[in-house]
Symmetry: C2
Subunit: 107 residues, 2 copies
C-alpha cells in the first residue's frame, strides 16, 4: 500500500499542490535581459515604444553590467513583469523591500 511521495505528488494537479501549500521546486531560468526580452516576444523597438525611449537606448541598456535598481524595475515592468530583489542566505532568503513599489511581494 505504501507509495512514494514523489509518485503521489506526480499524480496531483498543480492546483492541488498549491492548495496543499506545496510547490514543485524548480530551478529558476537564468538569462540576461536581451534573452528575457526575446522570451517575452518583444523586439527592442516594441520595448522602446512602451518605455517611450528610442531603440538604441534599449540596446545600450541591455549591454550594461550595472544600473540603478529603479532603471531595471522600469525595464522589467515594461515587459509585464515584477522585479524582486532577493538576498539569499544558506538558511533562507529575504525579499529586500527598500526599493519596492509595494512592501509585500511573493516569489
Amino acid at each position: 500500500m505504501a507509495k512514494k511521495f514523489s509518485e503521489l505528488s506526480a499524480k496531483m494537479p498543480p492546483e492541488a499542490l498549491a492548495q496543499a501549500g506545496l510547490k514543485l521546486q524548480t530551478m529558476l531560468a537564468a538569462m540576461p535581459l536581451h534573452e528575457l526580452r526575446r522570451a517575452r516576444g518583444l523586439s527592442q523597438k516594441a520595448l522602446a515604444d512602451i518605455l517611450q525611449v528610442q531603440q538604441p537606448a534599449i540596446a545600450k541598456l541591455e549591454r550594461r553590467t550595472d544600473m540603478y535598481i529603479s532603471t531595471l524595475r522600469s525595464h522589467i515592468e515594461a515587459m509585464g513583469g515584477q522585479l524582486d530583489i532577493v538576498a539569499r542566505f544558506p538558511d533562507g532568503s529575504v525579499n529586500i523591500n527598500n526599493f519596492a513599489d509595494v512592501d509585500m511581494q511573493q516569489v
Copy 2:
C-alpha cells in the same frame, strides 16, 4: 483510507520532501536592509568594518530608496548573502544574470 496531501506532507521530514523534488512553499520574508542587517546579528559599525567604510555611510545607504545593483550586491555579500535579481511573471520567474558574479544561481 484517503488522506489529504497536506496531512501526508506534514508528516514528512524536510529532507524527504527535498528528495522527492518538493519544497514547502513559504512566502519570502520581506524587509528593508536595516532589518535584514539586524536579523543577521550585525551592527552598522560591524558592517562598516567589513566594507571598509565609516558607520555613517551604512546609515545613509540604509535610508536610500534607490542604488546601483553593484552597491547593493556588495552590501548583501558583506552580510554573508548572495544577491538575486528576479523578474517575476505570471507564468514563471527568471533570474537576471547580466549583473551576476556567476551565471547560474538557484533561489
